[in-house]
Amino acid sequence: MALDKTEYSMSAAEKMSNGAVGRNKNGVRVDRSDGHVHQNGSAKKEKRRPFIESFENIPLLTAATTFIGFHLILLMGYVTSIIFTPKVAREKNRQGYVPLYDRFESFYSRYVYRRLRDCWNIPICGCPGSEVTIKDRVTHDCGWTFEYTGTQSTALNLGSYNYLGFAQAEGSCSEDSAVKIKELGCATASPRIEFGTQKIHQELEALTAEFVGMEDAITFGMGFATNALNLPSIVSKGCLVVSDEKNHASLILGLRLSGANVEVFKHNNMESLRQVLHNAVIKGQPRSHRPWKKILIVVEGVYSMEGSIVRLPEILELKRKYKAYLYVDEAHSIGAIGRNGRGVVDYFGVDPKEVDILMGTYTKSFGSAGGYIAGSKAFIDHMRVNSHGNCYATSMSSSCAQQIISSMKIIMGKDGTNEGKKRIDQLARNSRYFRRRLNQMGIITIGNNDSPVVPMMVYMHSKIASVVRRLKTNNIAVVGVGFPATPLMEGRIRFCLSAAHTKEQLDNALVHVEEAADFLGLRYSRKRRSKEPVHYSDSESEME
């Protein structure tokens, strides 16, 4: 893991001017309480907001112990498999068949994953809002089977993707969705291109296009399927796709199905991207050396495992230079970052029309389900006819569509209140506060300071499980991720902040996280720790 700390630092003069509130400077009105001047894409002298992303190196001793620890688990698993017969279902009536699973796969699943199985697939009995009701279960045989105890416990929810707090069972959004179910039913049982298009879908598409700032948009019933089924209609054989190495499984699947050539560049590394584009343009297609039919750069807005934000202005520069197209997957960034919650283009203050294709999902910030693709009218018209999702997959349920419409109107302020703005600001405050407090404890968090996803590095598999279990006993629900979703040595606990969290809830969580950090030895960071108290405010001038 390379040490990559990039900072666009502000000059002393700029730092001074940021302290002033309500001043007009260079024709840009400063209207935020922190006096922060936001980037105006058309102004010549742009004051860039600081882009602070850090990926601290793993300490050598930790790397060694993680490596040894993992192999120790494998060794123990191997010994256990020899001595005891596994309590796993065997196939019946299939003698003489080729074994269905690879040996390592079944070994890993039975003897490594099984020991930690209680940390995942935890059932809940209520709305996944800021607090979640968990159905308690115990295992009496080290993870082979589970038994429900019959009790439930309420925990602070730091694991669900509920960025703007719209996962609510009461409120105007649910009421509107209920009305729509009565009017239009739960589903249409038909693909969009047949009889599955209702007026609500058209309304949703128009609203989405307005929200992201593009000419038109098209929506689908599932976020994963949006990528997997539409990339084949955008690129095909003879095209080159340049994709970030940490892209999501849905993008990778979509690219595989499309048949295009794929080149990977190092995560968020602009030099690596430049090299790949440069070589692609010069060398052309393999063997024939003809120029590529098109070159598409595929990146995500916020990477959910790393917590990093894409370097959009630099990618746009490279895109213009090498005449490539750009596809941004805003699954985790739409609604969650940006001054008005409009995603990465809003965050960097660029014109959305400079990005060719903006894709996003409605699951995270809008509390619903489904995905969309937005672009120019000509492009979306092409998608309406050629997209596999549009032609063969069922259209979105009307209740989900209405939930999105209601929540989007709140975020845009169209409901007449400023609740949307309050939620966006609350989320930004929560993300920054939480991350700074963790860093102050000496815990390594990776990714961008502004991202609502805060991955806390624990490295070792056993520590992932210990932290999750320990925090659960303190009524905090978190999510741990390890191999194979992340590289082998980089186990992490991923906190997903939400606008629904209050400062008290976060403080309580931090107390328990600090306890766990002391008990398990998680203060890996070797950076200088500031002793100043961290303020819960909009100000970004308090940096480490």
């Binding site: 009536n93 935890i122 996944p128 509920n162 038909s190 047949e194 063969y392 989900c400």
Partner: protein, 333 residues
């Protein structure tokens, strides 16, 4: 609402175009249970199944489906298309061989592409052609026994083919499966809830034990009137999808209200088996009427009991563009 009648512009038309086979979309009981669930869980589930996206409703639906299909376990996906498109690549990898009917639906085709296996298509519902391909594969295996020991072989078929309306000859397929040691995946997207005396699908129609089939996949979007899909089979097979099914692990779980609607639909199906007889009567009636009353240059295709009927040109001219134009004119009229 897109139910028995559908409003297009000013006109109220009889709906023969959507997959609402059991009329569940307009059912008030289903609406009631969806609303109840909405008031408890909200709309979205805000997370994948592994990260606090598993609610009691999801687990209930999985148990009910497994019980209904008389299998050990079921896994529920949030989208019908993704179900079979994620299930096939979870088991079949690059070095494997898949035998599949040439007329399978688009979702299965995408699943086959994603699996990267070697695909052998056999002519539609032609068991001799399938046997020929299997014998060729057996020859190859004899020449290279070491490789044969590592190559998994799969057979994929649909209960009722979306593209033709015909039924798969299940007993013969199972015979071949037994003889050549194939793993059989049956996609019952259309036949689930429509075929069989009590709607249990093709296995009931042919009176076969469902455990003979390695995995049955179905859709909650057709007979059940909700959104999603499922796979049922033994513990051994289905458990694997919880870690390797891409559409399951890397995607948010289905909205709980749609799962509640599906549970209610299953309850209705179990409580009132007469709806299947009504559906069967309607299908056979239409089939017989169309066969006798269509003009001579149009023909009806499909099994008499199938809910999907294809009306095709009796003598296609061979020119796709002209034929499509003619069909479009018929549709517009």
């Amino acid at each position: 609402m897109v139910g028995k009648y559908i409003q297009i512009g000013e006109r109220n038309c009889l709906n023969l175009g959507t997959n609402n086979y059991l009329g569940m979309i307009e059912n008030p009981e289903i609406e009631k249970s969806a609303l109840e669930c909405l008031s408890h869980y909200g709309v979205g589930s805000c997370g994948p199944r592994g990260f606090y996206g598993t609610t009691e409703v999801h687990l209930d639906l999985e148990d009910k489906l497994a019980e209904y299909m008389k299998c050990e376990e079921a896994v529920v996906y949030s989208y019908g298309f993704s179900t079979i498109a994620s299930a096939i690549p979870a088991y079949a990898k690059r070095s494997d061989v898949i035998f599949v009917d040439e007329m399978v639906n688009f979702a299965i085709q995408k699943g086959l592409d994603a699996s990267r296996s070697q695909i052998n298509y056999f002519k539609h519902n032609d068991m001799e052609d399938l046997e020929r391909l299997l014998m060729e594969q057996a020859d190859l295996d004899r020449k290279n026994p070491k490789k044969a020991k590592r190559t998994r072989r799969f057979l994929v078929a649909e209960g009722i083919y979306m593209n033709t309306g015909l039924m798969a000859p299940l007993p013969k397929l199972l015979e071949l499966r037994e003889k050549y040691k194939l793993r059989f995946f049956l996609d019952e997207a259309i036949s689930f809830g429509t075929i069989g005396k009590t709607g249990h699908g093709l296995t009931e129609h042919f009176n076969i034990d469902p455990s003979e089939i390695d995995m049955i996949s179905g859709s909650l979007e057709n007979s059940i009137g909700s959104i999603g899909g499922f796979c049922v089979g033994s513990h051994f097979i289905i458990e694997h999808q919880r870690l390797s099914g891409l559409g399951y692990c890397f995607s948010a779980s289905a909205p709980p209200l749609l799962m509640a609607a599906a549970i209610t639909a299953l309850d209705i199906m179990q409580r009132d088996p007469s709806i299947f007889q009504t559906l069967r009567d309607n299908s056979t009636f239409i089939h017989s009427q169309l066969s006798s009353q269509l003009p001579s240059d149009l023909r009806v295709h499909g099994h008499p009991e199938s809910v999907i009927k294809h009306i095709r040109l009796a003598n296609p001219s061979g020119d796709k563009v002209a034929d499509e134009q003619l069909l479009n004119e018929i549709v517009d009229k």
